[in-house]
């Protein structure tokens, strides 16, 4: 879990160009981290690449926060 969180955080920091301490589990990509809808698509693609998983579009729609991403990825990879 903590490993997934760290890797997710790293991706979010790189893609959204935000400070690491703002990337908390409850942080919303759009509301708190300045992402737009296209950024969200790109983030999901980056998660797929990093964790070698496929995130279907209907699941991707629900991944709106750092915590939701970590939860989904952990379940997929766990």
């Amino acid at each position: 879990m903590s490993d997934v969180l760290a890797r997710v955080k790293k991706i979010v920091v790189e893609h959204l160009d935000v400070e690491e301490d703002k990337v908390t589990e409850s942080a919303s990509f759009i509301d708190d981290l300045g992402a737009d809808s296209l950024d969200n698509v790109e983030l999901v693609m980056a998660f797929e690449e990093e964790f070698d998983i496929e995130i279907p579009d209907d699941a991707a729609e629900h991944i709106q926060t750092v915590g939701a991403a970590v939860k989904f990825i952990s379940e997929k990879t766990g």
């Binding site: 790189e14 893609h15 160009d17 296209l38 698509v41 790109e42 693609m45 496929e54």
Partner: protein
């Protein structure tokens, strides 16, 4: 009738970045044509180009104080989301707007300020790379930023967002006439009253495998000077063998004359006349009789209310192709008649190559600077003219002379022609 003046200039070119250093290098006879080293060109028939020198070392820019600094324009993360033609267009627009000193002082002013920047081919290198990715790894690997990163009107879109320009947002796609059409059309928008200020020009970044291979296939490019790049672009010379591709962007700020004066803007020239025509002849070749170019120049003169004898400098389309140069030259001779003896006509493509959709805008800027400084830039490599002409083609060296008005020609694939006349403002 509302008058339109030029109050800001911006250039990203194979001779560097920024109007004054580029102009100085152009006048001193420097060439921006170099070997292609940033991708594998070994199997291409044309392996040279007018490459923008960049701070990262590309195009010989490592030690060039006037190299293009992409990171100064936007964060690396943002750069990855747009093709380079948009990056160059944004950078040139930033320069031009800063140069003009213009800023919106009210919402109403912002709503009457627009953008009209075009490109000939758009995001060719991104299209190429994305196609390879799609084939090799499938559709799920395609970035959501591909489309907004390659479509041509996104320069205008990006510039409007960066500078809060809420007026007309438009774009031109007329091959090698793009830059000239953008400036001419934007000036008309101000004349007609759609806007009081327009940021106008063209940008291009087609120096990639897809771009070079495709133009080579159309038999348009120089292939005989790969070992002597700076000699390759040689308009009017008997040994010319095609155009040399260039890249970059040219952008100007146009303003309605009275409002520019009222805010105390520096006025570089007036957009005095604009003419357009179509060849209705061939998809890539110019009509042999030069009638299309002749008519666009004639229309621009009529629009400006000027006689040929009022023009002191012609910045030629002059791409260094075997056919096109002489056709244009004959059309100018025919239009100017006796006045041809007194004009200087040069092709600055001899120095920077053919910037395609950016060419007309960059060359408009050179025409404006010729008026400002009373000097006409040279035609490099013109050792042995292929025809006799009464026109001074400014071989090798810049020609100093007062320039009251300058005409800039651009002709594009599809038989699309544009001529823009700039005039000194007292």
């Amino acid at each position: 009738m509302r008058r339109v003046v030029v109050t800001g200039l911006g250039i990203v070119s194979p001779l560097g970045c920024g109007v004054e250093p580029v102009w100085k290098r152009l006048l001193s006879g420097q060439s921006g044509i170099k070997p292609i080293e940033h991708f594998d060109a070994s199997d291409l028939a044309s392996r040279i180009a007018g490459i923008v020198p960049r701070k990262d070392g590309r195009g010989g820019g490592a030690d060039d104080p006037h190299a293009f600094d992409a990171d100064a324009t936007m964060a690396p993360r943002e750069q990855k989301r747009i093709d380079e033609f948009i990056l160059y267009g944004i950078a040139a627009a930033d320069q031009a707007i800063e140069h003009s000193g213009w800023s919106a002082r009210s919402d109403e002013e912002a709503e009457r300020a627009g953008v009209m920047i075009g490109s000939g081919t758009g995001g060719l290198s991104t299209i190429y790379e994305t196609s390879v990715l799609l084939k090799e790894r499938g559709p799920r690997k395609i970035s959501p930023f591909v489309i907004p990163g390659i479509i041509i009107n996104l320069i205008s879109g990006q510039v409007s967002i960066r500078h809060g320009l809420k007026g007309p947002n438009h774009s031109v796609v007329t091959a090698c006439s793009t830059g000239a059409h953008a400036i001419g059309d934007a000036a008309r928008m101000i004349k007609y009253g759609d806007a009081d200020m327009m940021v106008a020009g063209g940008a291009e970044a087609a120096i990639c495998r897809l771009g070079v291979a495709s133009f080579v296939a159309a038999r348009a490019m120089s292939t005989g000077f790969n070992d002597t790049p700076e000699k390759a672009s040689r308009p009017y010379d008997r040994d010319r063998d095609g155009f040399v591709m260039g890249e970059g962007a040219g952008v100007v700020v146009l303003e309605e004359y009275e409002s520019a004066r009222a805010r105390g803007a520096t006025i570089y020239a007036e957009v005095a006349g604009y003419g357009l025509s179509g060849d209705a002849f061939h998809i890539t070749a110019p009509a042999e009789d030069g009638n299309g170019g002749f008519r666009s120049m004639r229309a621009a003169l009529k629009d400006a209310g000027l006689e040929p004898s009022d023009i002191d400098y012609v910045n030629a389309h002059g791409t260094s192709t075997p056919k096109g140069d002489e056709i244009e030259l004959k059309a100018v001779e025919r239009l100017f008649g006796d006045a041809a003896d007194d004009i200087v006509m040069s092709s600055t493509k001899s120095s920077i190559g053919h910037l395609l959709g950016a060419a007309g805008a960059v060359e408009a800027i050179f025409s404006i600077l010729a008026i400002r400084d009373g000097i006409c830039p040279p035609t490099l490599n013109l050792d042995n003219p292929s025809v006799e002409t009464p026109i001074n083609l400014a071989p090798h060296k810049a020609v100093e002379k007062p320039v009251r008005a300058a005409l800039s020609n651009s002709f594009g694939f599809g038989g699309t022609n544009a001529s823009v006349i700039f005039r000194a403002v007292d």
